[in-house]
């Protein structure tokens, strides 16, 4: 494999294809590694902006009563926190990982559509500038929740809604372009011998995620357009006065919204399926079943949207249908969890930071999955609906699920990206601080939720005071812990122990056969897969 490592260097020097200098390198780049880096850094920035909003929310909720912010501003914080974290932090982080890793994992020289790749990244900062700028408008930014239910977003919203709609449009276009790129890359640029069933699971999960994106992001674009025309152009999609129906909004939104939650978790499954075998020094247990489980989760995700709407007054037959379909998803998800555990079984395990985050993912994501099952039970959902129990549920699957998997991925591939090992001690500190604080933050939310504390409210009844103070402390600690991560990443980029090509003793896959740091151009001649 040494030929592969030396080849790209020679090629780059020969044709002067190294990166351009300065800002232009990043502005005009069509290199998948540069674009991947841009996505990841952008996502990190958004993670901290969205996180700062979460800190405002937790500071206000530290005590009952209104202390720090106006209720209207509080609502803007919950809304924009959700939007930023979903569309600005989690999704671009996965797209960044896809850009960096998919070509290296399938032996391709770059993404299939590099110029479009540049566009799909560079429109994102505009989308989020528009969204964030709307917070400074007269009357404030969007305050109707990230789910922008009509009529809150139509009849009762202010004019920043137009900016919200356009920013969502741009985010959607960016995601769709990214998804098209991923699919074309995977279908057309696999190295000779890399059949579909030999692809690493991260590639598989992204392949399926990309189809989900193409299927539902246009529906989101449609529903925000309907909100826009209802508000400004006199249509009545969601206005009963004109023959529309506000409940229709929820159906269309969640037809997008439920596949969207799998868009945010399927690549995470791929990451965990890459990391667990490496640190267990065993091949992944049940590769084929993982592929089929991922596909069936994706298909089922189109049949469960109305479990977000049990309290809208559906016929019992429909409630039962959506309840059973939702519970059915637990089966392929369970297959995955069992496969990860079986991979570890009798493995020669070590516990470096990527593995620690992966183990935490498996345990905590499963907790989030179980609270999801509780929410799926229609009659029980009438109690849980719109309480902090729901908040606890989706933060377990998105923070200790998606975000933890992204952290694991960052630690796992950072040596390949930078050529340096990260500081293991600092990484362990980051992990343990995050693990403890995230549970102090989100676990008590189950209890206050079951006791009836509603979500999206800046004030609460006195009996929830102690738990909320505890939750806020956990929140601040979790927020501060993430600064350790930034310090670690900066340190790792600047220097550190040289990483070997394989980096991890048990690592397998094409990306570990090229040099560390990965050369600017890799696999210009495709490797042969046996």
């Amino acid at each position: 494999m040494s030929t592969v490592t030396t080849d790209p260097h020679a090629h780059a020097e020969h044709e002067h294809h190294g990166p351009a200098k300065g800002l232009k390198r990043w502005l005009y780049t069509t290199n998948h590694k540069d674009i991947g880096t841009l996505y990841l850094l952008f996502s990190l920035l958004m993670f901290f902006i969205g996180g700062a909003m979460a800190m405002v929310i937790r500071a206000e909720l530290f005590q009952p009563g209104l202390q720090i912010v106006e209720p209207n501003f509080f609502n803007q914080m919950t809304t924009v926190h959700g939007l930023i974290m979903v569309f600005g932090a989690v999704m671009p982080a996965f797209t960044g990982l896809a850009n960096w890793l998919i070509p290296m994992m399938i032996g391709a020289p770059d993404m299939a559509l590099p110029r479009m790749n540049n566009w799909s990244f560079w429109i994102l900062p505009f989308a989020f500038s528009i969204l964030l700028a709307s917070l400074f408008m007269e009357g404030g930014g969007p305050s109707f929740g990230w789910t922008f239910y009509a009529p809150l977003s139509t009849t009762y919203s202010n004019d920043s809604t137009a900016l919200f709609v356009f920013s969502v449009h741009i985010m959607g276009i960016s995601s769709i372009m990214g998804a098209i790129n991923v699919i074309v890359t995977i279908m057309n640029l696999r190295a000779p011998g890399m059949t579909y069933m030999k692809m690493p699971l991260f590639v598989w999960t992204w392949f399926i995620t990309a189809y989900l994106l193409i299927a539902v992001m246009p529906v989101l674009a449609g529903v925000v357009t309907m909100v826009l025309t209802d508000k400004y152009f006199g249509t009545s999609f969601f206005d009963a006065a004109g023959g529309g129906d506000p409940v229709l909004f929820q159906h269309i939104f969640w037809f997008f919204g439920h596949p969207e939650v799998y868009i945010m978790i399927l690549p995470a499954f791929g990451i965990i399926s890459s990391i667990v075998p490496t640190f267990s020094r065993k091949p992944l247990f049940g590769y084929a079943s993982m592929v089929y489980a991922t596909s069936s989760i994706a298909l089922l995700s189109f049949l469960v949207w109305a479990h977000h709407m049990f309290t809208t007054g559906m016929p019992v037959a429909a409630e039962l249908f959506f309840m059973y379909c939702t519970m059915l998803i637990a089966v392929p998800t369970g297959v995955k969890v069992f496969n990860w555990v079986a991979t570890m079984w009798r493995g020669a395990m070590t516990f470096e930071v990527p593995m620690m985050f992966s183990l935490a993912f498996i345990v905590l994501f499963t907790i989030g999955g179980f609270s999801g099952l509780m929410l799926a039970i229609t009659p029980a959902d009438f109690q849980y609906h719109d309480t902090y129990f729901v908040v606890a549920h989706f933060h377990y699957v998105l923070v200790t699920g998606a975000i933890f998997s992204i952290m694991a991925a960052a630690y796992y591939w950072l040596p390949k990206w930078t050529g340096h090992m990260y500081d293991e001690t600092l990484g362990q500190w980051h992990f343990w601080c995050s693990l403890i604080s995230v549970n102090v933050l989100f676990f008590p939310m189950h209890f206050v939720g079951l006791a009836g504390m509603p979500r999206r409210i800046p004030d609460y009844a006195l009996q929830f005071a102690d738990f909320n103070a505890l939750i806020s402390i956990g929140g601040f600690a979790f927020g501060l812990s993430q600064l350790l991560f930034v310090w670690l990443v900066v340190k790792c980029i600047k220097g550190g122990e040289k990483a070997t090509d394989q980096v991890w003793e048990g690592a397998e896959g094409l990306e570990w056969t090229i040099a560390s740091p990965a050369p600017y151009h890799s696999f210009t001649t495709p490797p042969e897969i046996k």
Binding site: M187, P218, G234, S236, D239, D245, L248, I252, P315
Partner: protein, 187 residues
């Protein structure tokens, strides 16, 4: 290389466009679905013809009437009776009072909704002020009729039907009510 990508890219772009269209197609699909199931509690906008249904004297259903003007609507709007017990199949007539307390002429449209939603399919209106728009001059009062019967086929589990009207000012939502107005003229 680019030639190899083109067919896939075109297919994916078509899929994207189709899914955007599908989002919009959900609107009429939802209406059809609701018409068939009564899911959203919308009653028919057509006048029902009086069938020679034999009233089911054995059974009584409580019909409740709720009426309210929309938030921005300054009229007084209420049913004269708030609830009656009916035998399914019997034709009843009740009146709603509308009073334009403002100093200007206004046009209004009442939008009905039945709860529980599935009972909407069995609530038949032979005559209703909601089929047309109501025009009241400043200070004018009007008794508006509603003639209905409950279909004897109403499933056993429904013993109470609530009919709710919300009254909207038409000028505020001109483009779409123009459409409903033409539909109503046919009846």
């Amino acid at each position: 290389m680019a030639l190899k990508h083109q067919p896939v890219v075109i297919k994916l772009c078509l899929l994207t466009a189709a899914m955007f269209g599908f989002g919009y197609a959900l609107v009429p699909l939802y209406d059809v679905f609701c018409d068939l199931t009564g899911l959203n509690g919308k009653t028919s906008t057509m006048a029902a013809t009086a069938e020679a249904a034999i009233p089911d004297k054995q059974r009584e259903v409580l019909v409740e009437f709720i009426a309210r003007p929309n938030n921005n609507m300054p009229w007084v709007f209420e049913p004269v009776v708030h609830k009656i017990r009916v035998h399914p199949g019997e034709i009843h007539r009740i009146d709603y009072l509308a009073h334009n307390i403002t100093g200007r002429s206004m046009t209004a449209q009442a939008v009905p909704s039945v709860s529980p939603g599935q009972a909407a399919l069995y609530f038949n209106k032979m005559e209703c002020f909601c089929f047309t728009q109501q025009h009241l001059t400043a200070g004018q009062q009007l008794l508006m009729p509603l003639q209905f019967y409950v279909d004897p086929a109403l499933p056993e589990q429904f013993s109470t039907i609530t009919l709710s009207y919300t009254l909207y000012e038409v000028d505020a939502v001109a483009p779409v009510t123009a459409e409903t107005a033409t539909g109503d003229n046919n009846e």
